[in-house]
Symmetry: C2
Subunit: 243 residues, 2 copies
């Protein structure tokens, strides 16, 4: 999703948020759609720009619908309404429902790789590293819609083996090997225990738990993600007595 259009999309979402009963009042719907489109796309915008914005609007709407209803239960009609677009339009931008889903995950998660690889390059002293890891997760994932995308990947990934493979090859594998080499270098300096480098997943584990928790149990018992992750990495990185 291009940054440029985030605000635009936000406006659209507000406009089309109110739930409607599924009556077939075409005229009322038409007005709503026109209002949404007017807000989203100034008449002056060139075709190229409009096209990109529509794509983004559809992706953004799809994320909302998939997140709240799940992939199967989400209706493309609702995605279209939310995006201020007719259902047929979705098929001008995406081959089918499934490839819409794939594009969504591709677009949101791929950029993470660079960010984390950059973190691996910088040779930071341990306590600073701990902070950076926590802040990066909280700011770039947890406080972002990426949280929802990851939740989606966790929930639905199993039924899309192709997508799982793409995600593993293009995202996970790279992140893991970046973190692993980072940990190995720190271990060589005696800063972190050897075992940790074998399972970089351990570093991320509380982050994933927080994502799952926020979707299921937040309303019963809120969870301070930043504090949990801080506690965790500090325990892992803490200097220990020689055995």
């Amino acid at each position: 999703m291009t940054d440029r259009s985030v605000i635009v999309v936000a406006i659209m979402l507000r406009l089309s948020r109110s739930r409607k009963t599924p009556t077939r009042r075409a005229s009322r719907r038409k007005r709503a759609v026109e209002a949404a489109r007017a807000a989203a796309v100034p008449a002056s915008a060139s075709r190229k720009v409009r096209t990109a914005e529509r794509r983004d609007a559809i992706l953004s709407a799809a994320l909302d619908e998939f997140s709240t209803r799940g992939f199967e239960a989400a209706r493309l009609d609702d995605v279209a309404r939310r995006a201020g677009v007719a259902k047929g339009t979705i098929y001008l931008y995406f081959r089918d429902k499934e490839s819409l889903f794939q594009e969504l995950i591709r677009a949101m998660l791929t950029p993470l790789v660079g960010t984390i690889e950059a973190l691996g390059e910088a040779e930071l002293p341990l306590p600073a590293l701990a902070d950076r890891i926590v802040e990066l997760f909280v700011r770039e994932v947890y406080e972002t819609r990426r949280k929802d995308v990851i939740r989606l990947m966790i929930s639905e990934g199993r039924r899309f083996p192709k997508l799982a493979e793409f995600y593993y090859r293009e995202v996970l594998e790279r992140i893991i090997s970046a973190v692993r080499s980072l940990l190995r270098r720190a271990a060589a300096r005696g800063e972190v225990p050897e075992g940790l480098a074998e399972f970089p997943q351990i570093i991320a584990a509380p982050g994933l738990v927080a994502i799952i928790w926020s979707g299921l149990f937040e309303r019963f018992e809120p969870l301070d993600v930043r504090k949990m992750m801080k506690t965790h990495v500090e325990l892992l990185f803490a200097p220990r007595r020689a055995t």
Copy 2:
């Protein structure tokens, strides 16, 4: 799911596994169903026993179907076929699809609470405790169909707030408070750091990651759960230098 019927169910699953195209050949289907039933329930079995076994067979079949297709996409027709039963029969045992799902989770996860609370009571020395935690997870969850149920809860829980609440109140909350008081006592003795008791989720985090991983990425990169969990708890419980 009663233990007694596990083998029976396994046999049934084998018998009804072969996929059929959805032709309407009633007679062929009928024979298959009868064969399955004959294998599952000896004619001599009393009505009560048969009833319990059918319930279990349906739950077992539902777990398979829900696990592989997801709740929405799973067809009750397939659950029935897998259980060697007609679709209507399901409705004699469960009110609807959703309550079948709820019963499944209820039945499989509730027993865990007692086991873990017992672990909390026993005052074990630290290294033994670490081992017990790991073994308990691996043997009672990871190598069990409970793994699939938890995966299901993670994937679908969001769309069943009632179920999420039940699970939180009856399972999670109890487990968390048991583990927390265990950790607090250990912290008081200076055996584990204070911060850990505030976030018992941290202990379980790698286990959850392993469950997710096994569903999505096992085929690309297998993960040694036991070793990862062992590494993790030992890092957390390791004696550390005074700061």
